[in-house]
Chain length 210, copies 4
Amino acid sequence: MQTQTISKPRLDRDARREAILDVAQDVFLEEGFAAASMSTIAARLGGSKGTLYNYFKSKDDLFNAYVERRCLWQSESLGLKPGETPLQALNRVGRAFLAFLTDDLTVRNFRLVVAEAERAPEISRTFYEMGPARGLERIAAFLSELQAGGLLDLGGDPTGAASDFLGLVQYRYFKARLCNAVSAPRSAEIDAEADRAVATFLRAYGTAQR
Amino acid sequence: MQTQTISKPRLDRDARREAILDVAQDVFLEEGFAAASMSTIAARLGGSKGTLYNYFKSKDDLFNAYVERRCLWQSESLGLKPGETPLQALNRVGRAFLAFLTDDLTVRNFRLVVAEAERAPEISRTFYEMGPARGLERIAAFLSELQAGGLLDLGGDPTGAASDFLGLVQYRYFKARLCNAVSAPRSAEIDAEADRAVATFLRAYGTAQR
Amino acid sequence: MQTQTISKPRLDRDARREAILDVAQDVFLEEGFAAASMSTIAARLGGSKGTLYNYFKSKDDLFNAYVERRCLWQSESLGLKPGETPLQALNRVGRAFLAFLTDDLTVRNFRLVVAEAERAPEISRTFYEMGPARGLERIAAFLSELQAGGLLDLGGDPTGAASDFLGLVQYRYFKARLCNAVSAPRSAEIDAEADRAVATFLRAYGTAQR
Amino acid sequence: MQTQTISKPRLDRDARREAILDVAQDVFLEEGFAAASMSTIAARLGGSKGTLYNYFKSKDDLFNAYVERRCLWQSESLGLKPGETPLQALNRVGRAFLAFLTDDLTVRNFRLVVAEAERAPEISRTFYEMGPARGLERIAAFLSELQAGGLLDLGGDPTGAASDFLGLVQYRYFKARLCNAVSAPRSAEIDAEADRAVATFLRAYGTAQR
DNA sequence: GATGAATGAGGGTTCATTCAT
DNA sequence: AATGAATGAACCCTCATTCAT
């Protein structure tokens, strides 16, 4: 019972914190930072407002914690998979990237962070460094790997090539998604668009022998 | 003096309306829609809140008017200029587009509209149709013109090519700008990045004879 | 033309004043004093708010004028009509009184005046003196006339008898109407109730020979 | 002490609610619903506006609660008391009824409810059903009791007789009180008027043997 | 640690009134 | 005499935050 009283609260506290962040995420994504109210979050949580302030010292603090947690999430492994040709890998990554970017959660989260960029610059900057910037680096590394495999010639600028790759893949849908001008594309649409972008990319960066 | 007494009020009213929108734009861009308060706008205007409501029947109405006015602005002429080679034109357009997109006003306005996409979907959708969507079409038309001049081979999909062009040109800076991760690039940086993107584009879409 | 310029404005001014009062009456009756707005009245009038203030120096003033005008209206002639027996006259007056009291306009006007009795005691007091109090006197005089005809014996207190008469006639419907608990009674209902009240009244005040 | 920690908040909350209603009643009665402001109520309460909204979700809600509480109050027992003759009982009830009706609180409350009859018909209707309508029924039952005792002959229409009784008793003062045309009658005046009305009533409904 | 009542500043909005034209 | 833009006080209501229990 001693261990209980010592260890259990600790676990409980972390779990409770996570639960709060889960609810906060929902509310923030649905209503935006300013329109979201601590009352709403507390009510959905089934707890009291006071409790919220036991875990996060302010609404801003809660928002910070939410963004930080979001950033820790996005970490799938890139890189060639066994038994995959470089071309197949490029197509797979293009599709995965586009699917991720057009996903509802991604889009709404992006809106949320961008909305607060003026008011809370550090937050959006952190988000950018942890998210898009790291993604670009990982794509650059991935493309270098493909270059080593002979598929590509990046011309000595892997980051530039990565930027081009991502630009090609996402332009058609991302802005439109942000603006609510289109709903989330279905899988087939994503594949078609990604494949088209990869084809363009290969015309610009592919080696003759591909 | 007769024309005065007749026309002056009319002009005054329109001018006042514009002045209000100017101030509202500043406040909206700085604080976002939700955080912006009618009190702040009235105070900066040097008038009373009541006056605001003589011109716009609600905060939403004011925001709508702001977005509408923004949409009417962006309409420069594209197309080949006299004495310009197709290649020069492509470079010029690429630079102009990137300069526009990374401009402070553009970025902050984009943030603002996107922030309200969940709450007011029609507004952001309209913005998208009037802004990015029309821009894409105009670029597509422009590229077709260059194709006619022999510089490009769009492979029968001018819109796809336009999307690729814009994706290549903007990816490096736009997201970063949105997230406040970088300040507005200087002219030289814009030119370098645009030129690089154009080079990539030409490797993918240029004809042999270029 | 001189008479025109002199006399016409005078007429116009009175007519305009009446028109304003007509509109104000509608709005006051519909919304109550506090909820009625000068803007609404001006808008319905098709004029500007400034004009309103040219005719009435405040909202209270307008309300005063409305109540005063209302009081001047109610003045039908009571008294025996030629070829009518005293009993017939009593029944006729009872019915007329009840019809008047349960009429929509009467009820809503009563509500309106009573609502402001705390805030503006003189107004409701004036209304009472001009309306119900004078009505009571006229009924007393009327009953005295019938007494002279031998139908009634008022026991030396015509006002008391008049009060009893009116109390008997109106109790069933008036409060309920004020409270919106019943809609305006139809003619047959009014007649039946008035006749019943008259019968009671005659049992209390009728002479043996009736 | 356990009961304290459990029951005290509960009592406090109810007590606070009652205190708010007490203050709200004062303010509503003095200024009317529309003119009463939540700020005034909060200030008189010595609390903040926010607290008001913790107990009542809107001004309308507060008003509803006030009316409901008023309705629960008025419930004295009628009926013959031991050692009382029927005639004494009738006089007693007449006086009590008139005293109640001309009481300041009754009059002002009536004004208040009637004032909102157009805007909130359900409220005034409920008030009527709970108050005057039930009062009428109780008087009818009371009169029937007296009839059984041989004092009265209601002619088979107890409700009609009750209506007559109440009409006779109240007409002289009630309207005048509503209109602020007279101040609350003193006890002697009330008794005299009630006795007079009872005498009239007995002439109309009394049996020969009384 | 959890609660939820209390706070008070501030939100958007309305409105009677004024005044220059 | 008529207009209608301008005002600013006041309205109802919300909310992030605090604190006694």
